[in-house]
């Protein structure tokens, strides 16, 4: 299994509070991703990173920010949580290079976030 740890695994918080989710990898992969999974939508990309301090938006980035100060850590922050952000959040990692052009993403076990 890919060395990906998400923390916390479960969190309940109130509307308007800030929330930070952490993804930690031990694989030294260049790419890291944050997805959310909701019924009827599959997994949707929130933000991703292609290196330290290099990030870009995904399909559903509104209300979320990310930071990557070290290769191994990718943080997802909800500055002011809303009930619509109740979801299961997954982190993924992958490697990509000229020699490794077709590489799957590998996922952590997710964080279940409930915003009341």
């Amino acid at each position: 299994d890919a060395g990906i740890t998400q923390s916390p695994r479960h969190k309940v918080t109130e509307t308007g509070t800030p929330v930070t989710l952490r993804c930690h990898q031990t694989e030294n992969h260049r790419y890291m991703y944050w997805y959310r999974q909701d019924p009827g939508h599959g997994l949707r990309l929130i933000h991703y990173s292609y290196g330290v301090k290099d990030t870009d938006k995904g399909e559903v980035s509104d209300g979320y920010s990310v930071s990557r100060s070290k290769t191994e850590d990718f943080l997802l922050t909800l500055e002011s949580a809303t009930s619509s952000q109740t979801s299961v959040y997954f982190c993924a990692i992958s490697e990509l290079s000229l020699q490794l052009s077709n590489q799957p993403q590998h996922f952590g076990d997710g964080t279940r976030l409930s915003i009341l």
Partner: protein, 113 residues
């Protein structure tokens, strides 16, 4: 606008028979296709993939077929086993960069004894 579609939310098959899961896509820029399996309370697990330059890839009991002209992808599991019961997601990568994936909504497979 859903670029990757799995039109069957659920599928039930008997143990030992073939399971066929289907996926359709609309974006011609997709160049790499993947299948993931997901058990409850776990993250998706990579199963098998195929590049757009191929039309078939096999790995043990799992075979993925790609029909580019129809923009259709399928996963065959033979023989199906009870442990295969899970949600299966197809995903596609846009060649535009970032190794970003677009996922379908998933198909719940139940393999019955």
């Amino acid at each position: 606008d859903q670029q990757v579609k799995q039109n069957s939310p659920s599928l039930s098959v008997q143990e030992g028979r073939i399971s066929i899961l289907n996926c359709d896509y609309t974006n011609s820029m997709f160049d790499y296709f993947l299948w993931y399996k997901k058990y409850p309370a776990e993250g998706p697990t990579f199963l098998i993939s195929i590049s757009s330059i191929k039309d078939k890839n096999e790995d043990g009991r799992f075979t993925v077929f790609l029909n580019k002209s129809a923009k259709h992808l399928s996963l065959h599991i033979v023989p199906s086993q009870p442990g295969d019961s899970a949600v299966y997601f197809c995903a596609a990568r846009d060649r535009g960069g970032g190794n970003k994936l677009t996922f379908g909504t998933g198909t719940q497979l139940k393999v019955e004894l």
